[in-house]
């Protein structure tokens, strides 16, 4: 298990998405309306678009290309056309630092 520093709380707006690098893994980091963070793989399983370039819709991210939707907490598909989920990663906040936790197999 490795945690990767990916950003600062003070530089992140609520209801925002950003693409971050977590030890070589492209991750879509989301800050929800309530200020908490979520992270999932940034690559859409449908056609490979960058999810962080999309929009938030409730607790989901909408892919900018074809509108597939993924739950930001679990990575589950909540809107087609995607069929396969994306990976979800735990996010830790330590003071002003944001970490994404990657479990290596």
């Amino acid at each position: 298990v490795t945690r990767h520093l990916v950003g600062k709380v003070s530089r992140t707006e609520p209801r925002s998405l950003s693409r971050v690098d977590a030890g070589g893994v492209p991750v879509c980091l989301a800050r929800l309306e309530d200020g908490t963070f979520r992270s999932i793989d940034d690559v859409c399983t449908h056609e490979g678009a960058s999810l962080s370039g999309g929009e938030m819709y409730g607790n989901a991210v909408v892919c900018p290309l074809h509108s597939s939707q993924f739950d930001l907490s679990t990575g589950a598909v909540v809107g087609m056309p995607a069929q396969e989920p994306v990976k979800a990663y735990p996010v830790l906040v330590d003071d002003d630092d944001i970490y994404v936790v990657i479990v290596s197999t």
Binding site: E47, A49, G53, G54, E55, Y57, V62, C63, P64, L65, H66, S67, Q69, V78, G79, M80, P81, Q83, E84
Partner: protein, 418 residues
């Protein structure tokens, strides 16, 4: 089968939709399999084909954009097909519109006779209201407003699909350009003005429509109202044409398939099964024979296919959708029970693939795989819809496969008693 009408009423024979359409220039490369189709259409070395003859109707539209400009427009347009928008368009417009068509057929039927209808027109009227709801068009609140928009659509669709027309292109385009002017004055402009006024007021909780997006000029190109008008027109005609085509072809396929599969009749009220019917129908009946691409530079798009800058590639839908190595040895047969790996879409390449995959896919799939089209199909099946053997269907005279008339009988409905 009768082949008729090229948009100007001329009788003319249709071409084979499996063949490369004749509008492609000499030396066009064409794909012959599912794999070649996907490699070509996803290639960053190939750009969407230019608007050509249909430019007056499609200039500036999303389908012609490329790269970041395309992704930016698409991200905004996606708001039109969010779950709440699809649900409202289905529940508030599509299903009631379908019910009105069935009621009208009953009202017009002779006593003691099953109601009859021409299904293509019936579906166009139904999907005009679905498309207008997503676009946010004003003026469709009355039957007269819907009928007028449908009349304009019937002319506009031949212009939008001019590259497949076999008739007189100049005449077809002149009629379509005139219809565009009417559409702009009667529907587009008042709807955009209303959306601009709403923008200054409070949200009424309705789903976001295309007019709302345009009123906010969320894409800078929409500040040019000619571009915005074309964008709305393309979306609307696509929604109507796709919707009507899918449902009519589905009824046609079921009419031929069910007699040999009576066990499936018990599943005809199952929306998931009907969604599978829709997907299988889409695979066998793509709305267009090919998607055109033009090489941006010299490249090899798949093994043995070297393309020079400026050369065209015809990404052929049916050869891909009938690829036995992907869809099985019975790929040419309608089989809604077909089992495929999750990585293979049941609708094949009909919506294209890659960045430009059609926005209409969300309308057909819905948010959960069961779009409004399956609901409409269930209503038609409940009404006992069967082809009218006394009146043969009529195919469009073009290089694509589309019905212009499909007479049906509603065998489970009866005339309204006077």
């Amino acid at each position: 089968m009768v082949h008729n009408t090229d948009g100007m009423g001329e009788e003319i024979n249709a071409a084979d939709p499996v063949k490369m359409p004749s509008y492609f220039p000499p030396r066009t490369h064409q794909t012959a399999s599912y794999s070649e189709f996907n490699q070509a259409i996803r290639s960053p070395h190939l750009a969407p084909e230019p608007p050509m003859e249909k430019e007056p109707l499609s200039s500036g539209g999303m389908m012609h954009l490329h790269g970041a400009e395309h992704v930016g427009r698409r991200r905004v347009m996606n708001r039109m097909v969010r779950p709440d928008a699809l649900e409202e368009a289905r529940e508030r417009y599509l299903i009631p519109a379908m019910q009105s068509q069935l009621d009208a057929a009953r009202a017009e039927a002779l006593p003691g006779m099953h109601p009859r209808a021409e299904l293509v027109s019936c579906m166009q009227t139904t999907f005009v209201q679905f498309g207008a709801a997503l676009v946010g068009l004003e003026g469709c609140e009355t039957p007269e407003g819907v009928a007028e928009l449908q009349r304009l659509f019937q002319t506009l669709q031949y212009g939008v699909r001019i590259k497949y027309a076999l008739g007189n292109h100049a005449e077809i385009m002149a009629a379509a350009v005139a219809a565009r002017a009417e559409y702009r004055a009667r529907y587009f402009q008042p709807s955009l003005s209303a959306a601009r006024k709403r923008r200054h007021g409070q949200s009424d909780g309705r789903p976001i429509t295309q007019m709302d997006l345009m009123a906010q000029e969320l894409d800078p190109a929409w500040s040019d109202e000619e571009v915005a008008c074309n964008e709305s027109l393309l979306f609307l005609t696509g929604a109507i044409e796709t919707g009507a085509g899918i449902v009519v072809h589905s009824i046609d396929e079921l009419a031929r398939w069910l007699p040999a599969h009576p066990e499936a009749r018990s599943r005809l009220d199952d929306l998931e099964f009907l969604a599978a019917v829709v997907m299988e129908t889409l695979r066998l009946h793509p709305g267009a024979p090919a998607t055109g691409r033009v090489a941006r530079d010299d490249t090899t798009i798949f093994e043995g296919c070297a393309v020079q800058a400026g050369e065209w590639v015809a990404c052929m839908h049916l050869p891909a959708n009938l690829d036995e190595s992907v869809f099985g040895s019975d790929a040419h047969i309608f089989n809604p029970h077909r089992e495929l790996p999750r990585s293979i879409p049941r609708y094949g390449t009909t919506f294209g693939s890659g960045a430009h995959q059609c926005l209409g896919l969300r309308m057909v799939l819905g948010n959960d795989g069961v779009g409004g089209h399956a609901y409409v199909l269930r209503m038609l099946i409940d009404a006992g819809t069967e082809p009218d053997s006394a009146s043969p269907p009529v195919l469009e005279a073009s290089e694509r496969e589309a019905y212009v008339a499909y007479p049906v009988i509603f065998t489970k409905l009866s005339a309204v008693l006077p």
